[in-house]
């Protein structure tokens, strides 16, 4: 296993930039997830590292070696493709043995057989070795595909949305297996996905890639709770973040451009619980009962909001509800979309505030941001 370092890598296709000035390092034994929307340049990044594309600029080292001059075959990386990963004309065994039979490997057939069988047992496909690759189910195919990378024990694994073509249950199963395998092998993995849950659960660190630029790198919870800008805040999270333009909150012309609150920091209570300072102000559009939590879609002042909370809090929601915001979850972004630093926690800030009063509270300090806490953690 080895470290992979990108230094200012750039690549354009016919003058359309795919990735720009990409600099990051995947540490030895790290599970690094590159998260981004479709077309962000995630796959291009993997292909550049594997040597399937040549960068226009920048440097790349794999295991301390300068890799740019090396052919794909010499880079010692394994690529797990999203699709088309198995050779349809070969059996499962031959598919797994294919990388080991590459010229110059110099392995004997008994050696190959031993390694293939070991990997097959680990991935629970040993009973399928004699089958044709085309006779497998989707989950088995993707296991073989991962297995073909595992038999090689490469410097680094590159995985391009390997689970995206599977159904939900299988995806979850394989995800757990994959994390387990990585821990067991201490493998260096660069994993690309647009799936929030995959990124959050698998990654040691997440890199958020948007429009070819790496926006932020950090542990999953950090990227989720402290996004550097609006784009990252919008990209990360299974449910979309609620964004309030400053004008909607009647904030004075100040540095704040947008206020963001994640759905789990919005508390919705039935109108029946209204008190004098908690008036029902939002219209309930939809309640989705997902089991462990309810996802509530609301309309407030012309904005559509999402809230996620435990079912027992929701109770019997009528057409209108009171909405409160937990102040620890409030993110402030400036007019360019950069997140403003959270002020240090202070005693004067209430734990939550009615949505209608949010702007008032934020604006209280004027240009001086109020002591809104990030930090009851």
């Amino acid at each position: 296993m080895a470290e992979v370092a990108l230094d200012g890598i750039a690549k354009a296709f016919k003058r359309t930039p795919a990735v720009r000035d990409l600099t990051f390092t995947v540490h030895d034994g790290e599970f690094f997830v590159l998260l981004g929307p479709t077309g962000a340049g995630k796959t291009t990044t993997l292909r550049l590292i594997a040597g399937l594309e040549r960068p226009d600029a920048g440097g790349l080292s794999i295991g301390g070696r300068d890799a740019l001059a090396l052919a794909p075959a010499q880079r010692d990386v394994a690529f797990v493709f999203q699709q088309y990963s198995l050779y349809p004309h070969l059996s499962v065994f031959d598919n797994l043995a294919f990388p080991l039979r590459a010229p110059g490997k110099g392995l004997t057939e008994p050696d190959i057989r031993r390694r293939v069988e070991a990997v097959a047992v680990k991935l629970r496909i040993d009973h399928k070795l004699g089958n044709r690759a085309t006779q497998l189910s989707g989950g088995e195919m993707q296991r073989v595909s991962i297995g073909r990378a595992l038999v090689r024990a490469p410097a680094c694994f590159l995985m391009d949305e390997p689970l995206s073509s599977l159904d939900a249950k299988l995806r979850e199963e394989l995800r757990v297996e994959l994390k387990h395998l990585q821990a067991e092998l201490g493998a260096t993995i660069l994993y690309v996905t647009h799936d929030q849950v995959e990124a959050m659960t698998l990654a040691d660190r997440v890199g958020v890639l948007i429009e070819g630029r790496l926006q932020q790198v950090g542990p999953p919870n950090e990227v989720y709770e402290r996004p550097v800008n609006l784009q990252v805040a919008q990209q990360v999270g299974a449910l979309p973040i609620n964004l309030f333009p400053a004008a909607q909150l009647r904030l004075p012309e100040a540095e704040i451009g947008t206020v963001g609150v994640r759905p789990e920091h919005i508390v919705v209570r039935p109108a029946a619980t209204a008190t004098r300072d908690a008036r029902p102000t939002a219209r309930v559009l939809r309640v989705e009962r997902l089991g462990p939590e309810d996802v509530i879609t609301l309309e407030w002042n012309g904005l559509t909001l999402y809230a996620a909370q435990a079912p027992e809090l929701t109770g019997a929601l009528g057409e209108s509800a009171t909405v409160r915001v937990e102040t620890e979850g409030v993110m402030r972004f400036d007019r360019e979309g950069r997140r403003l630093p959270d002020a240090s926690p202070s005693a004067g800030v209430p734990a939550d505030v009615e949505l209608d009063a949010l702007g008032e509270m934020l604006g209280a300090g004027g240009a001086q941001p109020p002591a809104l806490a990030a930090g009851v953690r």
């Binding site: 399937l52 052919a71 794909p72 990386v77 050779y87 294919f98």
Partner: protein, 315 residues
């Protein structure tokens, strides 16, 4: 599900029956001439020109013997003083008051057809698959123009360029040589081969080769181990089309070959001149001539079927 339920995929019994009749009728129409040729090959000369035509007849191998031998007619006295015939075919020939004077040139011509036909097919497939791969995978400058240019060689009948080729070949010393004919047939077939094979290779996702290249194979090795096996159907279809053309080609063969490289098609009509109206010999030669393509096609039939439905290949 009841059998009377309507289905948009299953044809109804009546449609099936009608389709069966149509196919049978078509098969009959196309097979009769072939059956007639095979039958005539086993007839005696008089049976072959009998009117009304004979469907029931006494089979003889005379036609086949005549294809492979040259014979001369002798007087009864000469025939009487010959020692008894050594072989069954000598006996067959003597019944007609003839003796075998030597082998005919048919075997040589047949061999020429095999060498040239399969040689050109082999070369067409090799060059075609490599060109198609390059056009499919690499950023070839002026790719679309080149592809159109290649196709444009199909826009006139090949024989339209017969005279320039004749003159060129005479200058280059390629007239009446195996090499000359192989090169010519390859050139004619290559356009179809490149287009056909490019379609097939386009259908093979490039991830397969890329996976192989990341796994330690060079591009050429990936091509050989991953692309070629998956292009089998296209290669089979191309080989069959190419062989059929090279094998049946008549115009260039008659123009450019006369002796050592003459193929069977220009030779077969000449058989009829040797010894009157020898239809059984011509038919015997034709029957033998059909066989290689028939065998080749049957061997590759499984792949050909996939080949004819190209474009409809499930990705």
């Amino acid at each position: 599900m009841s059998t009377s339920a309507h289905s948009i995929v299953e044809p109804t019994a009546r449609v099936k029956w009608m389709a069966g009749v149509l196919v049978a009728a078509y098969a009959l129409v196309t097979l009769i001439p072939i059956v007639w040729i095979v039958m005539t090959g086993f007839k005696s000369p008089s049976d072959s020109i009998a009117y009304p035509p004979k469907v029931i007849f006494e089979p003889t191998l005379e036609g086949y013997v005549n294809v492979f031998t040259t014979r001369s007619r002798q007087s009864a006295e000469y025939m009487a003083q010959l020692p008894p015939p050594q072989t069954w075919y000598e006996e067959l020939v003597r019944e007609r008051n003839m003796v075998i004077t030597g082998p005919s040139r048919f075997a040589d011509r047949y061999m020429n057809s095999l060498i040239i036909g399969f040689g050109a097919t082999f070369l067409t497939v090799i060059l075609g698959v490599m060109a198609a791969y390059a056009f499919s995978r690499f950023r070839v400058p002026l790719r679309d123009d080149l592809m159109f240019f290649i196709l444009s060689t199909r826009m006139f009948p090949p024989v339209a360029v017969a005279i320039p080729i004749f003159l060129m070949y005479r200058e280059l010393g390629l007239s009446d040589t195996h090499l000359g004919m192989i090169v010519l047939y390859t050139a004619v077939n290559l356009s179809l081969a490149v287009w056909l094979l490019k379609g097939f290779i386009d259908e093979i996702p490039r991830e397969y080769e890329e996976a192989a290249m990341v796994d330690g194979y060079s591009r050429f090795q990936a091509f050989r181990k991953v692309v070629l096996p998956q292009a089998k159907a296209g290669i089979a279809a191309t080989a069959i089309f190419s062989l059929i053309f090279s094998w049946n080609e008549y115009n260039f063969a008659i123009l450019l070959t006369s002796g050592q490289a003459q193929t069977a098609p220009p030779f077969i009509p000449l058989i009829i001149g040797e010894g009157g109206l020898d239809w059984p010999a011509v038919s015997a030669a034709t029957t033998l001539f059909i066989l290689p393509v028939l065998i080749f096609t049957v061997l590759l039939r499984k792949h050909l079927l996939a080949g004819i439905t190209f474009g409809a290949v499930r990705r």
